[in-house]
Amino acid sequence: MEQVKHSHPNYIGIWVALAVLTAVELGVAFLPWSKTTLILLLIGLALWKALLVALYFMHLRFEPNRLRILAIAPLPLAVILVTAVITEYFW
């Protein structure tokens, strides 16, 4: 297993960032802007948070590349499925 002495990432900092981003989301969601803008903004914020969790809490940042590739491998499939079916509404 790993060696004993570790320097840990700043977990509390990530926690604060997540909390702040959540607050921002709550603020944004009720702004009187166009629906599309809101959706794009909110999804952007959500992905940012998700990325923080994956990189630091799940320590993907510190893993070998092989594992990182494995972790994101299913995502293209999810995108393929949803985009293909959505085109249904554009014909």
């Binding site: 297993m1 499925l81 079916v85 085109t87 249904e88 014909w91």
Partner: protein, 591 residues
């Protein structure tokens, strides 16, 4: 001590056999991958038999519509009063025939049995990475099967919306009169999905992390490559089905509206989800077959596999492309036609890796010194039959032609050529090939050949004419073809098919008897009856608990038949060290 010779010395074997666990931990709730593999084998052969019996009832009705089935009188009034099959029972029959064959026979046979049995043995590991999860995966599959069987005996009969369970037929009980049966169908498949997922992440971890020293990726047997890619497909496809089934189950029980149009739900969404799972699923049902056939053909031809690297790449390509073609089942569904064109092209492209596989198998046989043992017969038949099924796939992939042949017997012919001619022939090959490893005894080769030839002949007699029926426009899933004038002239063919199907089924009894008799009476096999190179043959038959008395080291690829380096044999096991071989670098135990 330092001996890494292929055949281990007898005293060590005696020791390795000493296994102190009580019977129930050894044979029932066993964590040994070999026992679990055999448990899966018995379970799925049972379901294969059930699926075959359902097929016989289907065939009776199609060959002799409206006539009382001999012996059908034992069936309850709600299914076949006086032995005459009812239309609603016919729909359940077709549904359950497809369901049992796909999910409870072929898939567990390929993935459950050979995934379990072969992976640790062939990569030189003592067991799976997670033996307990492995055990759970079998003991979860059993209740799934029992729930599926129970559906026949509930009020309203069993699921009757086809194995594809198209909504809204499956979602709204009023349309079929089946409510509980359809729910049990969902529940059973959700549970089975969990079992398959548990199995597959176990396989993936095992193959990545537990290979013996020297077993680098490009020395893996093709069967292991195929099982690896298959496990990835199972891992990523099964949960899509589970999610879809959960939504379907909620539509049936909680009154949700996912697939019911009245409140804006979308019937086509079910089809998209089902086939996004379903097409990878059919490759789940063929890739392991291809892998094992590759091993067997190389063995039978006594030649290295032709183009190993491109065989591996073809497996990967089939697995990858398989995610982008699901829409070819939906050309007539009202899906966006432009999308249809895209799916047509991607589907056609899958012919390319399939061609690589086909011609490389032929290339392997070319120039060989072919031994026609029973596994080899089945393996060659696999190539021949799979190609017929694959080529008929090209007709259906072509959108304009599919307009006409979609949902006709042309499809039925295709799917049986790939699933029976392909997967099942490969399973017969694999069972007969690894049977001596599993049970330490050989199946009778003479009866094996009789079984092979009868199966081969009657299989073609049953399913080849179905292409013709399809070309005449004969729809599938119809209870009584004589309702239509344009089908009436085809009734003679239907009857001929039915009679051949009965003979086909009868021929399978030979296999059943041979299988059981071999267990008790078969000739002792010895560790390596086929003179093969794989690691599993370097340990006794059946292998002891822990598989290898000494962790084997691997010095070469799995197909070094007729190598000039092997002086007096025409094979060179992966673990036999020659003077010129260097020791592989060993990772220390523990990490």
């Amino acid at each position: 001590m330092a001996s890494t010779a292929a055949v281990v010395h007898e005293p060590a074997l005696e020791h390795a056999h000493a296994d102190d666990r009580p019977f129930i931990r050894k044979y029932i709730f066993s964590t040994d991958h070999k026992i679990i593999g055999i448990q899966f084998l018995l379970m799925s052969l049972f379901f294969l038999l059930i699926g075959g019996m359902l097929a016989m009832v289907i065939r009776w009705q199609l060959g002799f519509p409206g006539r009382a089935m001999p012996g059908g009188g034992v069936l309850p009034e709600t299914m076949a009063p006086g032995g005459i099959v009812l239309p609603e029972f016919y729909n359940s029959l077709v549904t359950m025939h497809g369901t049992f064959m796909v999910f409870f026979a072929i898939m567990p046979l390929l993935v459950g049995v050979f995934g379990n049995y072969l992976i640790p043995l062939k990569i030189g590991a003592p067991d799976m990475a997670f033996p307990r999860i492995n055990m759970a995966s079998f003991w979860i599959a059993v209740p799934a099967g029992l729930i599926m069987l129970a559906g026949f005996f509930v009020e309203g009969g069993h699921a009757a919306a086809g194995w594809t369970g198209y909504a809204p037929l499956s979602a709204n009980p009023e349309l079929t009169g089946v409510s509980l049966g359809q729910q049990l169908w969902c529940v059973s498949l959700i549970i089975l999905g969990l079992s398959s997922i548990m199995g597959s992440f176990n396989y993936i971890t095992t193959i990545i992390n537990m290979r013996a020293p020297g077993m680098i990726w490009f020395r893996l047997p093709l069967s292991i490559w195929a099982l690896f890619i298959t496990a990835i497909l199972v891992l990523l496809a099964m949960p899509i089905l589970s999610g879809a089934l959960i939504m379907l189950l909620f539509d049936q029980t909680l009154g949700t509206h996912f697939f019911l149009p009245a409140q804006g739900g979308q019937p086509l969404l079910w089809q998209h989800l089902f086939w996004f799972f379903g097409h990878p699923e059919v490759y789940i049902l063929i890739l392991p077959a291809m892998g094992m056939v590759s091993d067997i053909i190389a063995n039978g031809s006594r030649k290295p596999i032709f183009g190993y690297t491109s065989m591996v790449l073809a497996i990967i390509a089939i697995g990858a492309l398989g995610w982008g073609v699901w829409g070819h089942h939906m050309f007539m569904s009202g899906m966006n036609p432009t999308l249809g064109t895209g799916f047509m092209i991607s589907t056609l492209l899958i012919s390319v890796p399939s061609a690589i596989k086909t011609f490389n198998w032929m290339g392997t046989m070319w120039g060989g010194n072919i031994r026609f043992h029973v596994p080899m017969l089945h393996a060659v038949a696999f190539v021949s039959m799979f190609v017929i099924g694959g080529l008929s796939g090209v007709f259906m992939a072509t959108t304009p032609v599919d307009i006409y042949i979609h949902d006709t017997y042309f499809i039925v012919a295709h799917l049986h050529y790939v699933l029976f001619g392909g997967s099942l022939f490969a399973i017969f090959a694999a069972v007969t090939f690894w049977y001596p490893k599993m049970f330490g005894r050989l199946m009778n080769p003479l009866w094996g050949k009789v079984h092979f030839w009868l199966t081969f002949i009657f299989f073609n007699a049953v399913f080849f004419p179905m292409h013709g029926l399809g070309a005449q426009g004969h729809m599938r899933r119809i209870y009584d073809p004589t309702e239509y004038e344009f089908l009436a002239p085809l009734q003679g063919v239907n009857r001929m098919i039915t009679i051949s199907a009965f003979l086909l089924f009868t021929a399978q009894i030979i296999f059943l008897v041979n299988f059981i008799a071999g267990w008790f009476k078969g000739a002792k096999a010895g560790p390596n009856p086929w003179q093969d190179n794989g690691l599993e043959w370097a340990t006794p038959s059946p292998p002891p608990h822990g598989n290898f008395p000494v962790t084997p080291h691997v010095y070469r690829g799995p197909y070094e038949f007729s190598s000039p380096l092997a002086v007096d044999d025409d094979y060179l096991p992966q673990s036999r060290k020659l003077e010129t071989d260097r020791e592989p670098a060993v990772l220390p135990a523990g990490d």
